[in-house]
Structure formats: structure tokens, C-alpha cells
Amino acid sequence: MNTVLSRANSLFAFSLSVMAALTFGCFITTAFKDRSVPVDIHVSKVMIKNVDDFTGPRERSDLGFVTFDISANLQPIFDWNVKELFLYLTAEYSTKSNALNQVVLWDKIVLRGDSTKLNLKDVKSKYFFFDDGNGLRANKNITLTLSWNVVPNAGILPLVMGSGHKSLAFPETYETAKSY
């Protein structure tokens, strides 16, 4: 502590240690918070096609098309330890060949500072809803849920499911040669 550099070194190291303790405090104040909010999903149009799936092992697979509305208020989730939310819409169903299938249809990133009221209408799916086989046709129970991944400033990244889901059924027949 007898030279300027020695004092500067000591001061800087102490500040960094205190900063680390503050970050831990930030994590502790939000670690046990419930980050689930009610979500409202509405489906307006459902269509199914049977097309060649070049990524799969068989000749033709079922390809589903879902047009949906989502509304949710995400404001209660954002606190001082949340940097952004990664939202994704999952379709969950079971077929004869697979007991559990989960397909992500659509996702969105909501940064802190963006509008937190989610009110989307007539959204088409972003990703293809391919089935592993032909299990979508006349499938009575497909459940759509909106989940999100909370990206914090400091701490764990929890995967939270919104409380609210929508069940839909696919039609019995395939659409023929109609463009989407």
C-alpha cells in the first residue's frame, strides 16, 4: 500500500469481490420465484398434408399446418434478474408408433424493455410440423402449450410452462394440391 499501483491493485480487487457478492445477492433474491403466467391460445385453422419428407426414413410423412392466436401478459415475469425470455409453442401428442411426440412450431425472443403484452392473431407456424410417420391424420388430441426459457443476469436458466393449453384435432383427410 506504499505505492499508487499497490493501492490501485488492492482497491480494484476489493471492488471486484464486492461486485461478485452483489451479483450473488441479485441471484438469491429471485431464485425461488414462480415464473409461470396464464396463457390463452386459440386455433383458427387446421390442415394436414401427406408429403415427401427427405429427412425421414420413409416415403411420405404427415405434415400439419396450424394457424393460431396467442395472448399472454408476461410483465410479472420480468424482474431485475431477467435479461430476456425465449418463448416457444410446443405441440404434444401420441401416435401408434411413438408414445410421446413434442414438436416446436413457433418461437420468439422477448428482450427486457420490449412490449410484454403478447397479443398475436393468425400466426402461422414458423417450423414444419412433420410427424415421424403418418400419425397426424385423424389424431384427436394434439395439445398446444406455450413455454418459455428465462435467461437471467445471474443464476439458473429455468424452463417454465405457461398455465393454459389448447387441444385440437386433425382432420380425417389430407388436403390435395392446395397451396398454403
Binding site: 464486492v18 452483489l22 441479485c26
Partner: protein, 91 residues
């Protein structure tokens, strides 16, 4: 800086950093923005730098009292190397 001054400087910067950390934590928690906690900490850091890095006169109030310089003569120069040789033999 003398020793008491160094101790005073250390106490000052530790106190300022801790106080700004507590204020920053409480303020950031109340407005729910961690960015402000970091800004207040940086402000405390800058104030500590200004107060403790340059050797201000308040850190030089207790200078060490050195012994007065003893004028050296040639006789003492000869004695000293002999004394140091004797000590080495005893070891």
C-alpha cells in the same frame, strides 16, 4: 505515505465501496434494474480512487522518526568488516 496513512487509506476505500454496494443493492432492488446497482458501485469506485490513490497530505501526518545520521569516519569503516567476519565464524 506513512504506515498510519496507508491504514487510513485502506479503511477509507473499504468503507466507501461497502457503503456504495449497500446503497446500490437497495436502489437496484427497489427499481428492479441491476444496471443501476453496477452504476452506483462504479461511482463509489471512482470516489475511492480519487480519495485514496493520490498521496494526499492527510496520509502523511505520522512520518517515521528516523535516527539522526551518524557522521562516518575511516576507523569505523575498518571495524565493521572485521565484526561481520567474526559473526560468520561463530555460525
Amino acid at each position: 505515505m506513512d504506515y498510519k496513512g496507508q491504514k487510513l487509506a485502506e479503511q477509507i476505500f473499504q468503507g466507501i465501496i461497502l457503503v456504495s454496494a449497500v446503497i446500490g443493492f437497495i436502489y437496484g432492488l427497489s427499481i428492479q434494474q441491476f444496471g443501476w446497482t453496477v452504476y452506483i458501485m462504479l461511482g463509489g469506485f471512482t470516489v475511492s480512487c480519487l480519495l485514496t490513490l493520490p498521496p494526499w497530505p492527510m496520509y502523511r501526518k505520522n512520518p517515521l522518526s528516523w535516527q539522526p545520521a551518524v557522521p562516518e569516519t575511516s576507523g569505523e569503516n575498518r571495524d565493521k568488516p572485521q565484526e561481520s567476519q567474526k559473526k560468520k565464524k561463530h555460525k
